[in-house]
């Protein structure tokens, strides 16, 4: 009975994906690893569609050099950002220059929240820059970003908001940790937990 219901929802997903076409590359990496540490879970396809709308809406975080990454578009310059998720797992992703870390996370199914959709009214996309050297390469946070960081959970000296950090060539190779209620991150001497 339950199996039947699952197969139905599965085919619903196929339909939805077919409708969306080939516009983006959401969710590819996620399939190659188990997600969450309790039980393997399914990526929320439904959530992703609305995120797509959100990215289209937030043009100001896309610069001209980072047009929507098309399938097979090798022209756009990309850097590698390594997310360190709540389980301590390192997830390297390719990010076009000009894209915000929040967008990059969502495009790659990294579990980083964005409650206010990059309007600088929350601190849910808080990330910790793991290397001080990289942190210093970033532009100083604005007052408005600092106002939100004040309230961020597990604030560190090298904390930033993901929606305000924009991919640039000098950030190639940066490690960004996502704070967790069940883990403590320290920038110095941080050792990712084997998983």
């Amino acid at each position: 009975m339950f199996g039947h219901r699952i197969s139905r929802s599965g085919s619903a997903i196929v339909k939805q994906l077919a409708r969306e076409g080939y516009k983006s590359t959401y969710g590819r990496r996620n399939l190659q690893r188990s997600y969450g540490h309790y039980l393997p879970s399914l990526p929320m396809v439904q959530t992703r569609t609305s995120q797509e709308a959100f990215f289209l809406k937030n043009h100001r975080f896309y610069t001209a050099s980072a047009s929507t990454p098309e399938e097979g578009d090798e022209e756009t310059e990309k850097i590698t950002i390594i997310f360190v998720d709540k389980d301590g797992e390192e997830i390297p992703v390719k990010v076009p220059i000009g894209m915000s870390v929040l967008e990059a996370a969502h495009e790659n199914d990294i579990d980083l929240e964005g409650a206010c959709e990059a309007s600088l009214a929350c601190s849910t996309c808080h990330v910790i820059v793991m290397d001080t050297e990289y942190y210093n390469k970033l532009e100083e946070p604005t007052d408005e970003e600092n106002d939100m960081l004040d309230l961020a959970f597990g604030l560190t000296e090298t904390s930033r908001l993901g929606c305000q950090v924009i991919a640039s060539p000098e950030l190639d190779g940066v490690h960004l940790a996502i704070p967790s209620a069940t883990r403590n991150f320290a920038v110095d001497g941080f050792v990712p937990k084997p998983h």
């Binding site: 699952i6 393997p40 929320m44 929240e113 959709e117 600088l120 106002d147 959970f153 967790s180």
Partner: protein
């Protein structure tokens, strides 16, 4: 990998895992940020989780709808994500369902493997000083619910016309919110989703001076920079802070060294004090006074209007070290009166207990360990209540912002996951089906998410006629009628 391949991959994953999992029936009580973040995290962590979110109101989103100030639309964007959760195929919302009257907690626990209580804090702390029941004194919660169109408080009618002065007790963000709503030009509020009755009353308001009273100093004020920066930017409004209040002690310095937010708030307040120009004789000028180092001793009754407040008697305080860098205010025995016709107490919310639920009356929270409800200790031994959890303000007290609930939910869901792995939930439960039968039997007119969408559409349509993002329906009858409309 192409999209098509991804789709095939997804389907194969669905099929391969279709042998399990067993359904895990979950009921979340309360549809604010704590409830929705719990639902979101449970859905992601457990394929078998089937979640019903119930709320006593016909509308979802808790304080995002009735707490967040109308002039903070960007904070309300979180509703988008919560709506996606509510529309998830394994999640349902049922409004207008009251735990404690329509349903008992014991009944919910019989129906569901997991019950997560996330119904927040719907009452207020008391000062416990003479005169607190005089008219003209409200809790900030009542005032906030009034201007936000909460159906329980839409007929509050606070007195805004008897004088030009209001006193707000407390200096946190709620205090700042209500001060801003009282002082902000109503032309700026007119294009927000503020309730219509509140906008009309504020347009008639004679309040021009608001005093924000705090027991401690500018270094200890529990407000945040964004909100402070915002009031500093209000047109035609002057900030008043006594210069002597801004001097800091070595203990204050130490507090600022240890807290970046304290330091930044103090700097902003100092900047605002320095920028305060001399008063001009503009009749529409507004003043926001920060009154530090004062605690309310008693309320004064008006001679002309019996039973109505005419001011607050304040005692001066000084700070004393309470150990570990904390400083507490103690009275000095010196008193002064502050006259006003309106008092708003912004000294904190309090959760309300329900029958059959362990409750710590002193802290106003449900005793818990990482979200697992702990029963009243018998002979020093406390036990966790199987399948019963808390999240949000009911779990940790009425502090923090929306995002705090993200981590709070993560912790509670972590505890649930551990219990799942330990095989705590083996019995079979009826879940949603049982709830529907029970509600039907008791003739409870539940409002599901599509009912809310009708309310939402109607409010937005009414709002568009007045150049507002929405015009809230503010009575139970209107809300229930809109939700039931065809």
């Amino acid at each position: 990998m192409s999209r098509r391949y991804l789709a095939r991959y997804l389907v194969s994953r669905y099929f391969s895992s279709s042998v399990s999992p067993r359904p895990l029936h979950v009921c979340i009580v309360g549809s604010g940020p704590a409830g929705f973040y719990t639902a979101d995290k449970l859905l992601k962590a457990h394929e078998g989780a089937r979640i019903d979110i119930i709320d006593r109101l016909p509308t979802p989103f808790g304080l995002v709808r009735s707490g967040v100030a109308p002039d903070h639309p960007e904070t309300k964007i979180a509703i988008n994500q919560f709506s996606r959760v509510a529309q998830h195929e394994r999640c349902s919302f049922y409004g207008n369902v009251k735990l404690g009257s329509d349903l008992l907690l014991s009944e919910l626990r019989d129906l569901y493997h997991v019950v997560v209580l996330a119904y927040g804090a719907e009452s207020d702390k008391d000062l416990g000083i003479p005169g607190e029941t005089l008219s003209g004194i409200y809790s900030a919660r009542e005032f906030v619910w009034w201007y936000n169109g909460h159906p329980d408080y839409s007929s509050l009618k606070p007195d805004l016309t008897s004088s030009d002065t209001a006193v707000i007790l407390g200096q946190g963000n709620v205090a700042l919110d209500v001060a801003r709503i009282l002082l902000r030009p109503t032309t700026e509020l007119a294009s927000t989703d503020i309730a219509r009755h509140a906008l009309s009353a504020l347009e008639e308001s004679s309040i021009r001076k608001v005093f924000l009273v705090g027991r401690r100093g500018p270094v200890q004020a529990a407000l945040t920079a964004k909100e402070l920066r915002e009031v500093l930017g209000i047109k035609n409004m002057h900030i008043r802070i006594k210069e002597t209040d801004l001097s800091v002690t070595p203990a204050d310095e130490e507090e600022m060294k240890n807290s970046r937010i304290r330091k930044r708030i103090y700097e902003l307040l100092s900047k605002a004090a320095a920028a305060a120009g001399t008063s001009e004789s503009d009749p529409d000028q507004r003043e926001l006074h920060f009154v530090f180092f004062r605690q309310p001793d008693r309320f004064l009754e008006s001679n002309e209007r019996k039973g109505h407040v005419s001011g607050v008697n304040l005692e001066k305080t000084i700070l004393e070290s309470a150990g570990s860098g904390k400083q507490l205010a103690v009275g000095t025995g010196e008193f002064e009166d502050l006259n006003c016709s309106l008092v708003l107490k912004a000294i904190g919310y309090k959760s309300v207990p329900i029958n059959g639920l362990p409750f710590d009356h002193k802290k106003g929270v449900v005793p818990n360990v990482r979200g697992r409800v702990v029963s009243q200790p018998v002979e020093g031994l406390s036990q966790t209540e199987r399948g019963l959890y808390v999240c949000g303000w009911l779990k940790r007290g009425p502090v923090g912002i929306i995002a705090t609930n993200l981590y709070c939910a993560e912790e509670t869901v972590g505890s649930i996951s551990e219990d799942i792995e330990e095989g705590v939930f083996t019995s079979s439960k009826e879940g949603s089906k049982g709830l529907m039968q029970l509600l039907e039997k008791r003739e409870v007119k539940k409002v599901d998410f599509s009912g809310w969408e009708k309310v939402d559409a109607k409010e937005k349509q009414m709002g568009s006629e007045r150049n507002k993002p929405r015009e809230k329906l503010v009575t139970w009858d209107d809300l229930l009628a809109a939700a039931a409309a065809n």
